[in-house]
């Protein structure tokens, strides 16, 4: 019920924005981070996995969209579908890494992100635009891109809702709590994780694709920028991993703070952002929602 309220609030907040202003970027990127943090939570919060190389899917999505649109001349919606497919395909390809534990998985996925970037940079410039990347000036339509991101966000929220209520969600949380015990009571760990993984790879690919459409500029440096992973982690953890509302709270709060800092302290922004992150983790090590749940453990089961 609380969750329903949150979703409604999100819809009301984002749906009408293009009617009021042409400065869509603030809200666009807010949606972007909400989606990234939410889908990151699928693997990190629900399955207990920390893919440091999450940005790989974002980058793949951006490039798939760019290449399909620019090099192969497909319309944007089809290019975006292709991006999702590419992300999922690569996610499936990486399925063997799911047997790794904890940090090992994290580092290997990071290596994969770097490898992905190198592979794209080795592909012929005719396809990928070389090291300059691709410029999609012909596709410029920020309002449409805005709504595309809106739909992706709704998709991520729906997936999250489904995941937290479905049997898959229960299996995932059991694995997170005690992998071996889960296996002993019949949970197929590899298959369950694979499902969550596929869901978690689809959204960043879509996000990458839509963002490429929005900015019209794709290049290796920003498509595979580790800050994308870092921010997804920071936003999700600041809110509280494992709770549906965690990434929502975390991403909106920190993204807002990030914007404020960036506006008011143009030269000191990274410094202050760093300090904010440190302070947050030291004061609320379980994130905002997690801290609330711990302090008021009676209400814990009502928090979505």
């Amino acid at each position: 019920m609380i969750w329903g309220g949150v979703v409604t609030l999100i819809i009301l907040a984002f749906l009408p924005v293009p009617l009021f202003t042409t400065n869509l970027s603030f809200m666009f990127y807010m949606m972007l981070w909400l989606t990234m943090a939410t889908s990151f939570n699928f693997v990190a919060g629900m399955a207990g996995y920390m893919p440091f190389g999450y940005v790989a899917f974002y980058g793949i999505g951006a490039y798939a969209t760019g290449v399909l649109y620019k090099t192969f001349g497909l319309p944007i919606p089809i290019a975006l579908a292709g991006a999702a497919a590419a992300g999922v395909a690569i996610g499936l390809l990486l399925a063997p890494t799911l047997r790794l534990k904890g940090v090992y998985f994290g580092i290997v996925s990071l290596a994969l992100a770097m490898a992905m970037k190198l592979i794209i940079s080795l592909m012929p410039a005719k396809i990928t635009g070389g090291s300059l990347g691709l410029i999609l000036s012909g596709a410029n339509d920020p309002t449409m891109a805005y709504y595309a991101m809106f739909i992706v966000l709704l998709g991520a929220l729906a997936a999250g809702t489904w995941l937290s209520m479905s049997r898959l969600g229960i299996a995932l949380r059991a694995i997170r709590d005690d992998r071996e015990a889960a296996e002993v009571v019949g949970v197929n760990v590899v298959r369950t994780r694979l499902k969550a993984w596929v869901m978690a790879t689809m959204f960043p690919s879509l996000v990458g694709g839509v963002e490429a459409w929005y900015t019209n500029a794709i290049d290796l440096e920003s498509s595979f920028n580790l800050l994308v992973t870092a921010k997804s982690i920071v936003y999700a953890m600041a809110g509280g991993l494992g709770f549906l509302v965690g990434p929502i709270v975390g991403a909106s709060a920190l993204y807002g703070i990030d914007q404020l800092i960036w506006r008011h302290f143009p030269t000191l922004n990274l410094l202050i952002l760093g300090v904010v992150i440190i302070a947050l983790m030291l004061l609320l090590p379980r994130g905002i929602v997690g801290a609330f749940a711990q302090r008021f453990s009676r209400f814990r089961r009502f928090i979505p």
Partner: protein, 293 residues
């Protein structure tokens, strides 16, 4: 081509040992304390700046600056432990919480360095005479030999400390069971803080060595070193100094020999592929022991 290949192999070992050195200091903090030190590279770069300013302001040669940097970084690490790390044990998931704190710290350090030292690339004005030695057709820069020596000595000392002395064993025991370590009477926080200090001290020294061998540094390159460090210890196995050496050499060799035949981009790609292959075959790394926790 053969001569180049030979040079590539030698280079791979030398560069690999330098990578190992980066991994070794990170391994103290990450492998032993389980603090995911994402700011490690920044500390390494700070070590390089330490040597740079010791040279500019005090006229100290980088070699003499090493003990100084080690001490200063060690003290800073000791303090930072209490400031940043100690509280994390309250979290559900201290390992990932530490990742975030350290990520924040890396942003802060990067920004501070930029403010203090500006964005330019700098380089230590340091050279050894003769600048290189010839072994048959293979050429080895003297600074690299020096770095190699330091890596070996540090790794040896650390391995001895961790596996042969009681404080070392106590240290390794910390992550195995935090309550039990207090049961035997070990001051958990003091020991952890010392370890953190040791790790940062080594990072400082690593910074100096690294800046003698990979000559230029700027406030932005910390991330590169952090990544190398993590790759090396995941390859070698968490917590094990010798593992880091194995991981470093393996990675260095793969990268450098590949570079003989392909471009640097392909070589780095092959390095990553190797990492992934090794981890899939031996999920705990070359020297790792599974299920320690």
């Amino acid at each position: 081509m053969n001569e180049l290949l030979l040079q590539g192999l030698v280079n791979g070992i030398v560069v690999g040992l330098i990578y190992a050195l980066i991994g070794v200091s990170l391994n103290v903090i990450f492998g032993v304390l389980r603090v995911v030190n994402f700011a490690h590279g920044e500390f390494i770069v700070l070590g390089a700046y330490g040597a740079y300013f010791a040279q500019q302001l005090l006229g100290l040669s980088p070699l003499l600056a090493m003990p100084l940097v080690f001490l200063v970084f060690g003290l800073i690490g000791y303090g930072l432990y209490f400031l940043l790390v100690q509280r994390l044990s309250r979290s559900n998931d201290p390992e990932h919480a530490s990742l975030l704190v350290m990520f924040g710290l890396s942003l802060v350090l990067g920004a501070l360095m930029l403010l203090a030292f500006e964005a330019d690339s700098r380089s230590l004005n340091f050279s050894l005479e003769p600048p290189f030695l010839m072994f048959g057709n293979v050429i080895l820069p003297t600074t690299k030999l020096l770095g190699l020596g330091v890596s070996v000595v540090i790794t040896g000392c650390l391995a001895y400390f961790l596996y042969r002395t009681m404080p070392g064993k106590a240290l390794r025991a910390i992550i195995m069971n935090r309550d039990a370590i207090q049961i035997v009477g070990v001051d958990l926080n003091h020991l952890s803080a010392l370890t953190f200090g040791l790790g940062l001290g080594l990072a400082g020294i690593t910074g100096i060595i690294v800046s003698m061998i990979f000559p230029s540094f700027s406030p932005f390159i910390g991330q590169d070193y952090t990544l190398i460090g993590f790759i090396v210890i995941v390859l070698g196995g968490l917590g094990h100094p010798i593992g880091a050496v194995a991981g470093g050499i393996l990675f260095g060799l793969a990268e450098q020999t590949a570079m003989v035949f392909f471009s640097g981009t392909v070589a780095m790609l092959l390095g990553f592929v190797l990492l992934i292959a090794v981890i899939l075959i031996r999920p705990a790394g070359l020297f790792g022991v599974q299920n320690l926790r």
